[in-house]
Every structure is written in structure tokens, then in C-alpha cells.
Symmetry: C2
Subunit: 465 residues, 2 copies
């Protein structure tokens, strides 16, 4: 085994001294934790590397592969499951210096960027070119596009634009042995053999390090309508979803459901005036994005109005300004403020089941918690049209082991063939629950692919499986 000193001096010689940094107490902290997992300080980082281009990434991987040294790829460290947190002695590869926006091609509606570009920089560059990049999530100011793709990020606009996977036309990645797989294509249609992009998207850096991508851009909407509708029960949510889909078609960009206790905490629980009275069965924030401002606003009012006349919607508020829209979104986005509410600390879940079953799943989770730990309280909210439910269990004053609650919830999700990680990935945190969403045959096939592409297992070891 090479010493830390050897590795650093080898890499400095290979790449130049400015690319390699020796880890010490002052520089290591931000490389040892993400937003969900605090790393084990006993794990040794052999070197921190900050490559400037794809060839340097390739040189680092080639060096490490020949010596069977583990490699930890890192982006903005905003993950929630420890996907980029080292668990073995390793060389860390930080992508932050690869932050060029290489090209915006408005005719192709594409942007070619390096993997270390921050999401918000992509969004702004698109806007600067009069276009729109739809991927968006809370970490936008620091997460990097390479990390977004390696985790197949979801976020706020999946209903209309899909997951990160669906926003990629071309991709370049470096394999464990340093081979560069470059396919920076700008075309939507390309049926020439296997779609290798898909190996790297969502595999959490275990099959290769993404170095550059061609992203899809879209036309920027001219008008946004936002409102909250109150319904009596989950069947009302489903009826309203049906009306929203058939009424708005592809203009429907958000259908966010908040259950009563969530609504309570997100409004009065945080000292905010509720936009609609508390006490209904569920609250639905519906957003549309369109290109015909007057017709869009009229249509929004018509469709919600018709749902009220049909008795599905019991009360509704429709924003008349950007400021009012922001106030409605603030209720949905209130989890970011929970630290100052009674619902803190909390244990959160990000699961998926078929949309029609979410109401039943909530009933089951509630009954299970009630039976086993009667004093625990859970809140529910989610991107229901995507089948995605967030559950948050208040842990204040409780000593129930988190692992037991997790197991109980994930087993209910598994029973409905759901996903135990809708958008956050597996990382190290959910490894032991992977079998609840994927069959032994699926996991064996994942291992076969891993073994074939990274036979020494150097890339992000200890993650996913």
C-alpha cells in the first residue's frame, strides 16, 4: 500500500502541483459530509484532487486503477444519502474546477457544459439566452450538474419535464481505467447501438465519472398560474388530478398535495396566515406554465371553478400576482423552516408508490405508527402526480430508534412495489434497504455490470450495494 505522501507526490508529478492538495484539518471538512450524512473522520483521504479537464480526470483514474486505490467523486456535496461521502481510504476527485459553459445552441435547444457547473449557473445561462432549463431543486446554488446527473435528480418540475435523465442528450464520462467515453451529441434521435449515457446517469459515480454533458433547453413560458384548492379526501385529490391533466395537458407543471397536519405546521405552526381555512382533507397546489397569458389565466379559473361546481374542490385561492404565488409556494416549501416549529427534529422519507395508492399507503403508515409508537406524529406531502410521497415523522422527545421506523415504513412501501428512494438515491444511507425495492435478480445484474466496467471496484466503493 502506497503512503499518502507517495500518492500526493505521484499525482503532483503527473498533473502539476496545483491539481493535488494534501488533506489536513483545515481543508477536509467539506469533503467529509453531505446534507444528510456526516462522514467517519477515521476514513483516510489520501489526496484531494481538483482536475481542470477530462484528461486530468482520466489520468487520476488510470493511476488509481493501476494501484487499486479507491476514488471518491465529489460535486457540490448537497446529497442526502452519503453518495459522495468517503467510507474507504481514497483519492477524492472534486469537479468544481470543470465549470465551463462550452456552448449554447439555440437552434438545437441545447447547452454543453462541464460537470462542475453549478445548477443555478446553468439555469441563468439558459435564461440569458432566452431559454429555460427546467431542472430545479433546493440545492440549486451549490449542487453541480455532474452530481445532478449521477444521482438522476428530480425536484420541482418532474411532472412536466421528467427526471434529470430525460434532460440529457450527450454525455462524456471517464471509466475506472481512465478510458474516456465521449458522446457529446446534440441530437434527440440517435439509435446507434447501446445508449451508454444511461450507465452513468443515476449510478451515483460507481460506473464512471461524468465530465461533460449536453443538456436540453426549452422555451421559456410567458405566464405562470398558481393556486391552492382544498378537497375533502384522497379521492378528491385524484378527481382533481384527472381534471388538471385533461384540462391543462402539458401546461400542468406542479400538482403538490399537502395533508392537514402538514398544512397546519406550514401555516399557523410558523406564524403564517393560512391562505385557505384549515380543516379540509387535503390541500393541492396546482401550477401551470403557458404561452398565452390571458387565455391561460381564464382557463385556470374555469377548470378550478368547474371542480368547485362539481363538489370536488371545496374552497380555492388563485394567485393574482407573482407575490401571491410566492406566498402559496411558501406553504409548500415550509419544510425548510421546520427547525423553528414544534415539528423538529424530524425523520424524513422520500418514497414512491402508484398514484392511486398513496391515500391507502398514508392510512397504513399512520396505523402502523399508531400501533407501535402511539405518540409519534407524521406529516405527509408530495408530488402526487409522480407517485412521490414525502413522510416526515416528528422526533422531539422520542427515543424510538430511527432504523426501526425506517424499516416499518419501507416494508409498507415494498409491499406496494414502491420505491424506497424516489429521488434521493441509495448512497450509503439506504444500502441495507435496497432489497426492499429491487429483487435479488436485479441486484445481481447491477453487480455484474459493476464488475464488468470497474473490475477493481475503485469507483465510489461502499455505495448502493
Amino acid at each position: 500500500m502506497l503512503s499518502q505522501h507517495d500518492v500526493i507526490s505521484d499525482l503532483a508529478e503527473l498533473l502539476g502541483a496545483d491539481i493535488v492538495v494534501a488533506p489536513d484539518a483545515s481543508n477536509i471538512v467539506r469533503h467529509m459530509s453531505d446534507f444528510g450524512v456526516r462522514g467517519d473522520p477515521a476514513v483516510a483521504i489520501l489526496a484531494l484532487t481538483y482536475p481542470r479537464d477530462t484528461q486530468q480526470v482520466a489520468a487520476i483514474l488510470r493511476y488509481c486503477n493501476q494501484r487499486q486505490i479507491a476514488v471518491q467523486p465529489q460535486g457540490g456535496m448537497t446529497g442526502l444519502v452519503g453518495g459522495a461521502v468517503p467510507v474507504r481510504p481514497c483519492v477524492v476527485v472534486c469537479m468544481e474546477r470543470m465549470r465551463a459553459i462550452r456552448e449554447i445552441d439555440t437552434a438545437s435547444a441545447t447547452m454543453t457544459v462541464e460537470a462542475g457547473v453549478v445548477m443555478e449557473a446553468v439555469q441563468r445561462a439558459a435564461e440569458g439566452a432566452g431559454m429555460f432549463f427546467p431542472l430545479d431543486l433546493g440545492g440549486r446554488g451549490s449542487c453541480q450538474i455532474g452530481g445532478n446527473l449521477s444521482t438522476n435528480a428530480g425536484g420541482n418540475r418532474v411532472l412536466r419535464f421528467g427526471m434529470a435523465r430525460e434532460l440529457v442528450l450527450g454525455l462524456e464520462a471517464v471509466l475506472a481505467d481512465g478510458t474516456v467515453i465521449s458522446s457529446l451529441s446534440k441530437v434527440i434521435k440517435n439509435n446507434t447501438g447501446y445508449d451508454l449515457r444511461q450507465l452513468f446517469i443515476g449510478s451515483e459515480g460507481t460506473l464512471g465519472i461524468i465530465t461533460a454533458v449536453v443538456l436540453r433547453l426549452f422555451a421559456k413560458a410567458r405566464h405562470v398560474c398558481t393556486g391552492i384548492s382544498a378537497v375533502d379526501h384522497y379521492q378528491g385529490v385524484l378527481d382533481l388530478l384527472q381534471r388538471a391533466r385533461t384540462g391543462f395537458g402539458p401546461q400542468l407543471t406542479a400538482f403538490e398535495v399537502m395533508w392537514p397536519q402538514f398544512y397546519q405546521i406550514g401555516t399557523v405552526g410558523l406564524g403564517r396566515k393560512p391562505p385557505l381555512e384549515p380543516g379540509y382533507g387535503a390541500y393541492v397546489l396546482i401550477e401551470t406554465m403557458g404561452f398565452d397569458p390571458e387565455a391561460d389565466q381564464r382557463r385556470y379559473e374555469e377548470i378550478i371553478g368547474a371542480a368547485m361546481e362539481a363538489g370536488i374542490v371545496r374552497d380555492a385561492i388563485i394567485a393574482q400576482s407573482q407575490r401571491e404565488a410566492s406566498e402559496l409556494w411558501a406553504v409548500r416549501d415550509s419544510p425548510g423552516e421546520w427547525q423553528r416549529s414544534a415539528h423538529w427534529p424530524q425523520l424524513s422519507f422520500d418514497v414512491s408508490v402508484p398514484t392511486g395508492e398513496i391515500g391507502d399507503l398514508i392510512g397504513q403508515i399512520g396505523a402502523t405508527l399508531e400501533a407501535r409508537w402511539p405518540t409519534l406524529q407524521a406529516l405527509y406531502f408530495g408530488h402526487v402526480a409522480d407517485g412521490n410521497l414525502h413522510v416526515s415523522v416528528g422526533m422531539a422527545g422520542h427515543s424510538v430508534p430511527e432504523l426501526e421506523i425506517e424499516r416499518a415504513v419501507y416494508e409498507l412501501v415494498s409491499g406496494r412495489r414502491g420505491s424506497i428512494s424516489a429521488e434521493h438515491g441509495i448512497g450509503s444511507l439506504k444500502r441495507e434497504f435496497l432489497h426492499l425495492s429491487r429483487s435479488p435478480e436485479e441486484i445481481a445484474l447491477m453487480r455484474t455490470i459493476k464488475q464488468a466496467i470497474d473490475p477493481n471496484g475503485i469507483l465510489n466503493p461502499g455505495k448502493i450495494f
Copy 2:
């Protein structure tokens, strides 16, 4: 090597006599050709099999894998590149008996079907449930959904709904060794390890046989607007595309460009009255699908009107009825009638380059043909917003070897990092040109994956690479 007789009696014993058929002159024809490639009659089919369920497919593959017998998966045989045409002695697995539509879930907006269901049956079942399945192409009456996915079919609505890949939520497939990989998930968000669906979509049956899928459904549009606009040159096409994208947003479902010689053949060349005068630089069929009939039609007229005032569109016609819309589409769909025109026989191409470069590519192809074979005439048309260009070279009275023309065109496409097969796949027909669209590193990685998943190479040998 087992004899044909042994294989048939073994499989009949394993599966039942009704599943296995001995090939003979009367039943073999439809299994030996697709729409583009006529098979070599010297290739021996050992047995024709017609499994009724996934377990039978698994049993056939397990049997063949143990004996290293090649397996030829077959769907509706509507491919254009020989992907399902046997090139080695093999057992044929026909999916046509697996044609159950298992479930339509309107809340999840999904349909679960077996792989042998014909595309048109999926479209109709969606319509019957008040929804819409957008995948559509000329072979709709006989192509099967399993084949559509294994070739990642494109077709008429990619601009809005994406390729087949983007319409799949869950998938079940059988590996070469008979292992069933089942992930019939109905949720959009599922970040639990590698996305194994992607291995089977677009890999032309070389990594597994797809047996069932969960498809995405959409709301059915309430109004369709269709028109043709004439512009002076390719810059006018790009300007109009920009206006269509920003004016119609996600309602834009078709942007089909026809160059003058194509327009000539498709109208007067077939005895049809041209909807707009001949002689313009290009003709663009624009279609929108929306949910607000009156506003949509008004908006269509406004946007085309504004493009005329700006001098981009020189003349335009907008359909006022379904019948008029069909007449406009008939011009675009005229290749189906070319057999009765002067432009027959023809050699056709399906390539992609970045949208902004299509005008230049046409110039290059024209100049190359002119320089080498001055009497050859080429027509151009395509899904320009997808970067997809179709080229058709009239071969009447010519003895130029097709292979030489293909090489010349594909090299120009390759020089622009384009795709030599936008939607048709590689099969056996384009194998020797694969290297013009994919790098040696990419092809090596494809082979690594193939070797890992199908180590005996039994699945659809002789295709792609």
C-alpha cells in the same frame, strides 16, 4: 451440435407441443425478412417458438444458453435494418402470443402490457380509457410494443413526447441465461440503484428479451391545429422554428420540413394539387395539440401571421377541418406513394445532425453527389426540430453501388458528429457503418456489457457489432 429434430422435441417436451413449430417452406417466410432486409434462405432455423408467458421465454433461453444455441427474438417484423432477421442457425422466439393488456391505471396514467401487443392495440386501449399513448409510426398495425422498445422507436411525435425510451416506467425482460429481471414499476421516480430498463431499450434484443412493460399515458388533446408555411431558405426554417417553440411551447407536436424537390414529387409528382405554390425554398408543416380549442386556433393564426408580417413566412395555409389537415399531412406522408412516382426505386437515409447544421449538411450531400454521380437526384425532408433528416436518392436508371452512396453520406454525417441511424437502429444492415457514429471506446464498452450479460453470445448474434 444438436439436430433440428432434437431441439424441437426437447422444447416440445419442456414447454408443450403447441409452443414449438418445426420450420418448413410454408411457415418460414414471415420469419426471414423485415421491411428493409431479406434474409438469407441458407440460414437454418432450428425451431419456431411461440411462448405464452414470461416463464416459457425463460425456459427457452435457459435451454438454448446451456447448449450455446443462438436465439432470434422477433416481434412484428416491421424493422428496416434486419434487426430481427436471422443470420445464424437459431431458435426463433416470436412474442405474438404474449398480447395481454394487463391493466390501465388512470390515476398513475399507465398501461401494463405484454411485449407482443401491437402498437395500434395500445393506442386504442388508451383511447378507450379516455387517454392517449403518443408513440406512433407507419408500422402501427403490425409492429409490437416489445420491438418498439428494443429498437427505441421514434416516429411522428418525438418532438413533444420523446422516443420510446421516455415512455417506459417499468419493464420486465429475460436474460440469456433465463433469469427474469422484473421491474414493472408504475412510478416516475425510482432512484434505487442502476436503471436496468435502459439496458434493454434500444439494444435490439442483444442483451435480453423484453416480455412486459409499463407504458406512460397522457391526457388526450382536445384540439389539433395543422398548417403548412412556405419560407425562402433554411435560415427561414430556423427562424420559424424559434417562433414556433416560443409561441406554442409544449403544444408544438410536429415541425416537419420538406425541401422543394420533395414537395414537387409529393404534390404534382403524384397528381395532387399543391396546397401552396411550388418554388419556395422550403415548406414547413406545423402541428399543435392543445386543450383550449378556440384559443389554440386563434393563437396558431396569430403566430403564423406574425411570421408572415416579419417576412419569414412567404405564404401559408391553415387547415380549417380534419379533412383539410389530412390533405396537408398527405404531402408529408407521400413517401408511402413514391412507388407510383418517377422517384422510384430509391435509396433512403435516416440521419441526425444538430438542427442548426441541417441546411449545411444538405448542401454538402448535394455537392458530393453532384461531383461524383452528377445524374443522381436527392430529395430531403425531416423532423428538423429533432435534428433528424431523411434523404432519398432516386436510383431509377442508375447503376451506382448503394454501398458507395451510403459511405459518402454517412461520412458527411460523421464529420458533424451526427447519427447514422436516428431512429431505425443498426441491425445487420448498418453494422459496418457503426464506427462512423460511435468511437472505438464506445464500441468496446458496448462489447464489455454484452460479454458480461450474455457471455455465450446467444442473443441476436450478428447484430449491431
